[in-house]
Point group: C2
Chain length 630, copies 2
C-alpha cells in the first residue's frame, strides 16, 4: 500500500528513529569507523548504500548549484598552513570551552555538562514550577555564556564530573583544529582545514582573473573538513570529520541582488527571525519577496540562496513544513557575519542546523589581503569618470632629513597610506594652526610651513578598488543526509517491521533489484543475463538469488531504498517480459525485458519527466497482493 499521509510529531519520529538506527547499522549504511578495533568516537564508515546515497546527493547538489548557477567548482588541499588560519581568525577563536575531571583528567564540554544538569533538574519531581521556569530561561542562554559565566554556573550548582563525581576544573578554551607538521624538519605548522571556505578565499585572485576580472561570481568547494570535537554525539550530527559543500559568492557591497530572484521570490517558507525567537514565538510563514521588502533578510542575494536551498532540500524528499530558516541571534553570530540564517530540518533530535547562509562581508578577503600583503580588491570602472577633490602633501625632504634623519622615512610611509578624508583633515588642521603634530611609531613629528606644503584640487577618477563581499551558503552534507534518511523512512501501515526508505529515485543508492521467482537454474541464469544488460547500460542493481520468498526480497529492497525491482518469472522465460515493481506503491507492471535499462534510467533522472504512474497507463498492470512476509 502507498505511504500514508503522516502527522509528524516528535514522538512519532523518535519511534521511527529507533528502527531507523537499527536499519542503518544492519544494512551497513552508516557504522562507527574502525569497529573491529573498538571504534573511534566521531568517525564513521559509510557502506555501499550510505556512500552511494551521499554521492548521489552530492551529484544533485552539483547540478542544482554549480551547473545551474554557473558557479566555479574548485579543489584545494585539506592541509592548511598556520598563516592562513591565523589570518582567518581560526587559531585564535575556533574553540569550545572544556572542563577537566581534576583527578582522572577526563574532558567534557562545559556547555554540555551544564545542559545535562539542567535537564535532570527539570525532570526531578521535586522541582517546583517556578524553579522550572527559571531553569528553562537558563537553558536558552547556555550557548551565549562567556568562559567566566560558564565556570560560575558550574561551580554555583555544585556540578561534578558525570563519570566519577570528582571536582571539575574551570573552563578552558580548546581549539578544535587538528594540528600536524609539513615537511621533514617539522618547522611548518599546519592544520586540517575546519572549513573549505578559506581555500576558496586564498584562491580568490586566480578565480577573479578566470572570470575576466569581474564580480559577481560564485565558487564552490566540496570536501572533508575536520573538527576535534571534545564530545562527539548524535550519529552524523556532531562528528570529527565530515563533508561540507560550500559556495562563496563574491559580490559588490552595494549590489547584493540576483537576476533570477523572481524564480524563488514567491516561495512561502518558515522564517524565524531573531525578534520572534527572543519573544518566545514560533517561526512564521512568509514569502521571500516579503522578507526582503520588509528587510527581515538583509539582502535579496542572501534570500535568493535561501530559496535555492529550500528547493534543494524539498527535492531531496524533505517536506517544506519540516524546514525553517532561523536567524542567528546577535550574540551567537560568528565574528565575521553581517547576517546569518540557518536552514534547520526538524528531526528526532529537534530542529537541526543543516545549511548556514551567512553574509561574511569583506572580513575574509580583507584579512588575507592584510596578512599576505597581496591586494584582494576588484577594480570597478565608473560609468562616468567622477570629479573628486584630491589633497597633495609635499615634504621638504632636505629640511626633514636634517631634523629627523632616518626617522623621516616613517613619516613618509605613514602619509603614503592615508586616504582622502584623512588628508583633508590634516589640511584643515595645518591651515588653522600653521603646524601639524603627529606621532608615528613613537616618534613625535612637528611639521611647520617650511617642512611641508599641502595643496588641493579637483581630479578625474575613472574607477575604484573595492574588496568584494561574500555571501556563503554552506551545506553540512552528513546532516542533510540524516534529514533525508529520517524523512524518507517510514513503516508500512499495519506492519511496523516492514520499513521503507522512500528516497527519490534520482538519489537512490541502487536503482534496481533483480530477483528470480524460483532458484532454479533457468531462472538464475536469466538473472545473470539481465545483470549483464544492466552493467552495460550503467544501471546499478542488487540481485538476490537466495531461496527466501519473493515478498521478503521486496521488503529487503524497500528497506535499502531501491526504488524499482524486477522479478524473473515463468513468463520471462516464455515471453521475455518481467514484472517491474514500484517501491512506494508496491504496484507492478509487466514490461519487455529489453526495455528495462531505458525505463529504469528514465525513471531515475533528476527532474524526471517519466513517473511510475505513467507506466500504469502504458503497460499491463500485474494484479498482486503483497502479503506480510518477514
Amino acid at each position: 500500500m502507498q505511504r500514508p499521509a503522516e502527522q509528524y510529531t516528535k514522538e512519532k519520529l523518535l519511534i521511527k528513529k529507533k528502527k531507523l538506527d537499527d536499519v542503518l547499522k544492519q544494512r551497513n549504511i552508516v557504522v562507527q569507523a574502525y569497529e573491529i578495533y573498538g571504534g573511534i568516537a566521531g568517525l564513521y564508515d559509510m557502506g555501499p548504500l550510505g556512500c552511494a546515497l551521499k554521492q548521489n546527493i552530492l551529484q544533485f547538489w552539483r547540478k542544482h548549484f554549480t551547473t545551474y548557477e554557473n558557479l566555479f567548482e574548485v579543489e584545494g588541499p585539506i592541509l592548511t598552513p598556520k598563516c592562513v588560519l591565523e589570518a582567518s581568525g581560526h587559531t585564535a577563536k575556533f574553540s569550545d570551552y572544556m572542563v577537566k575531571d581534576m583527578k582522572n583528567g577526563c574532558c567534557y564540554r562545559a556547555d554540555h555538562i551544564l545542559k545535562t544538569f539542567y535537564e535532570k533538574q527539570m525532570e526531578d519531581p521535586k522541582t517546583s514550577e517556578q524553579e522550572k521556569e527559571h531553569l528553562e530561561a537558563q537553558m536558552k542562554v547556555i550557548d551565549n555564556l562567556s568562559k567566566e559565566e560558564l565556570g560560575a554556573a558550574i561551580k554555583n550548582n555544585g556540578i561534578k564530573a558525570p563519570d566519577s563525581g570528582n571536582d571539575l576544573s574551570d573552563p578552558v578554551p580548546f581549539n578544535l583544529m587538528f594540528a600536524t607538521d609539513i615537511g621533514p624538519v617539522g618547522d611548518l605548522k599546519a592544520f586540517l582545514r575546519p572549513e573549505t571556505a578559506q581555500g576558496i578565499f586564498t584562491m580568490f585572485k586566480r578565480n577573479l582573473e578566470y572570470n575576466g576580472g569581474k564580480v559577481p561570481f560564485g565558487v564552490t568547494q566540496i570536501g572533508n573538513v575536520f573538527r576535534n570535537e571534545i564530545a562527539p554525539r548524535n550519529g552524523l550530527l556532531r562528528v570529527r570529520e565530515f563533508t561540507l559543500a560550500e559556495i562563496e559568492y563574491f559580490v559588490l557591497p552595494d549590489k547584493k541582488t540576483h537576476k533570477n530572484f523572481a524564480d524563488v521570490e514567491n516561495l512561502n517558507v518558515q522564517l524565524y527571525p531573531r525578534e520572534l525567537q527572543l519573544a518566545d514565538k514560533e517561526a512564521e510563514l512568509m514569502t521571500l519577496k516579503q522578507a526582503v521588502a520588509d528587510n527581515v533578510i538583509n539582502s535579496q542575494l542572501l534570500a535568493y540562496f535561501m530559496g535555492r536551498t529550500y528547493k534543494f532540500l524539498t527535492e531531496l524528499g524533505i517536506p517544506g513544513e519540516h524546514i525553517r530558516f532561523r536567524q542567528h541571534l546577535k550574540t551567537e553570530m560568528a565574528h565575521y557575519a553581517k547576517d546569518c540564517w540557518d536552514a534547520e530540518i526538524r528531526m528526532s533530535y529537534g530542529w537541526v542546523e543543516c545549511v548556514g547562509h551567512a553574509d561574511r562581508g569583506d572580513y575574509d578577503l580583507s584579512n588575507h589581503a592584510r596578512c599576505s600583503k597581496v591586494d584582494q580588491s576588484v577594480y570597478i570602472t565608473f560609468d562616468e569618470p567622477k570629479e573628486v577633490c584630491e589633497v597633495t602633501i609635499t615634504f621638504n625632504k632636505g629640511a626633514l632629513g636634517k631634523k629627523y634623519r632616518k626617522d623621516s622615512q616613517k613619516l613618509f610611509a605613514y602619509v603614503e597610506k592615508l586616504n582622502e578624508t584623512e588628508k583633508e583633515a590634516i589640511m584643515k588642521e595645518f591651515e588653522a594652526n600653521g603646524v601639524w603634530k603627529i606621532t608615528v611609531e613613537n616618534i613625535n613629528f612637528e611639521l611647520k610651513k617650511e617642512d611641508m606644503k599641502i595643496t588641493s584640487g579637483m581630479k578625474k577618477v575613472h574607477g575604484e578598488s573595492i574588496i568584494p563581499h561574500v555571501i556563503e551558503p554552506s551545506f553540512g552534507i552528513g546532516r542533510v543526509l540524516t534529514g533525508v534518511l529520517e524523512h524518507c523512512f517510514w513503516l508500512r501501515e499495519g506492519d511496523e517491521n516492514r520499513s521503507v526508505l522512500s528516497v527519490p529515485a534520482a538519489i537512490a543508492p541502487v536503482k534496481l533489484g533483480i530477483f528470480p521467482l524460483l532458484t532454479k537454474p533457468e531462472f538464475t541464469s536469466k538473472v545473470s543475463e539481465i545483470e549483464g544488460v544492466c552493467q552495460r547500460g550503467f544501471v546499478s542493481f542488487k540481485s538476490n538469488t537466495t531461496a527466501v520468498a519473493i515478498g521478503k526480497k521486496y521488503s529487503q529492497a524497500d528497506e535499502a531504498g531501491i526504488p524499482f525491482a524486477i522479478t524473473v518469472d515463468h513468463k520471462t522465460l516464455s515471453e521475455n517480459t518481467v514484472t517491474l515493481r514500484d517501491r512506494d506503491t508496491m504496484k507492478q507492471v509487466r514490461v519487455p525485458e529489453d526495455k528495462i535499462v531505458e525505463l529504469v534510467t528514465a525513471l531515475s533522472q533528476f527532474h524526471s519527466i517519466l513517473k511510475f504512474e505513467d507506466l500504469l497507463k502504458t503497460y499491463p498492470v500485474e494484479e498482486v497482493k503483497e502479503v506480510k512476509e518477514n
Copy 2:
C-alpha cells in the same frame, strides 16, 4: 584544421610540456596552493577547469568500474588510529631514507641526492665511456639500495649538501605519514591515511555480510591520501596530498578468475615483465590471454583488471602505444605483494607509474585479524562434506590439577589452539614414548598415560574458514590527469601559439562556449537568453561577451578544452539558428537554437552514439576559414 597524426617523441613532448605548463597556470587549471602566502611545496589548487576535469574523470571511473563491475563504493575517514597502521605495517615500513645537512639541518631524500650526482657525472665530458657504463648500472639499482648501501654510496662519492656544500648525515628512515592526535586529552595517536585501502580492510566484515557472506566481491573507495614527501617535485606527480581511487577485490586464493575475462583477453598491450627489464630489453606486445596462459601475469583476475584499466586509460584519450604494464622487480615489490604490475603512461617525465595492480594475498586481512582479534575469514561450504581424520586429546584434569595446580590451565589453553597436524604429531610422539613433554609459558609439563588420552577417528566436515586474497587496482588520479593533459594537448599546425586541449567531450570541464559575434545589446541579450536555457538544461557553459574577435574566443575555448562553441550572429536574431563549432576539427554546422541543449548533451555522453561528424550530414555546414588570431 584537424589534429595531425603525431609521432610522439620525448623531445616533442618536452616542447609541448613547456607550453602546457604555461597554460595550466594561466588558465588556472592547476596552480601551487596558498600562492598568495608564497605557496607550499607539494600542495596544489585546482581551478574551475582543473577541478571539473578531475571530477569528470572520477565520474567516468565510477561508471567504468563501480557501476559496470557492480562493485561497492564505500567511504571511511581520513583520520586513522595508530593501531590500524601498525597492523598494516605502515608505522614500521612506510618510510624514505633522508640525509641531513650537518650544519643547517636541511633535509634531502638520499636516493634523489645520489641520482642527481650520477646524472651530473654522466653529463660531464670528462667521464669516460667505461665510467658511464658503470654509472648507468648504478643508477638502475638506486631504488633497491639498503640504508647502509645508500650511506656508503654517498660517502664514497664524497657527495655534499647541494645547497650549501656542507657534509651530509648518514641516511635515516623518515616515516611519510602525517601525525595528529584525536580528542582533547591527546592520548589517541592517529595519522592521515597514506592509502584508502586500509579503510576498506577494516570494513571487510560488514561488506562481506552485505554481500550475503560470500566472496568474490569488490569494494572501491575514492578519496584523498597524504604522504609527507621529503622533496615534492614534478607537478602533480609527487605531492603531499592526492586523490586515490582504489579497488580491493576479495577472492578465494584458488579462484582468481573473472567471468568476463573474454571481454579483455584479446587486448594487445605492452607488457614489461621483470625478465625483460633485467635483460635490458624493451616491453613487448602481448594479448592478455597469452600472458595468462604463459603465466607472465600470475592470475586471470589480475589480468582482467589490467585490461579494464587499459580500456579506461585509452577512453580518456591516452593512446595505447603510450601505455605499458611494468612488473615490479622482486626487490622493489611491496612487502605484502605476490605480483605487481604498474600501468605506466609515457609522459615528458618518461614512463610514469599511474595505476598499480597488486595481488596483496591475504596479508592485510590476516594482520587485521591478528591485531584486532576479530576473525576475518569467509566460511566456505564444500560441495560434498569431506571425511577428515580428527585427533582428540582428553586430560585427566584431576590428576593434572594436583601436579600443576593453576598452571594446568595454560596447558589446556595451548592444546585448544592446536591444529590437526600438530595434534597428530603429538599423538605419534606420545604413542612412541609413552610420554609427551612440552614447555608452555616457561612451565615444563610432562604428561604420561595416567594424565591424558589421545584418540583418533574420521569426521565429516562441511566446510572451512578461509581468509580471502585481495587483488588491488589503485589509481593515482592526479597522475592519470597529468597523462590526459599531456596526451590531449597539441598545437595547431603552423601556429604554435594556438594550443588545443582535446579531452574527450564526456570529461571536458565545460561543454559549451557561447559567443556573440558582436558586442551589441541585441547579441548579448540573446547570449543571456541561451545561457538561461543551458542552465535549466544542466549544460555547463562559458560565455565570452568581451570585444575580442571571434577567432580569439574560439582559440581561448580550444585551450580550455571546451569541445563545442556556438556563436550568436545575425541569422540567430532573424532565424533562431546558431553556428555550432567542433573544437578538434574547427568545422561548423548551423543548428536551431532550441536544439542546443539536446545536441550538446548527446555529444557529451560517455560512450556517446552521436558524433559531431553525424551533424555534418544532418545540418547545413557553415563554410568558414579560421584565421590565425592571437
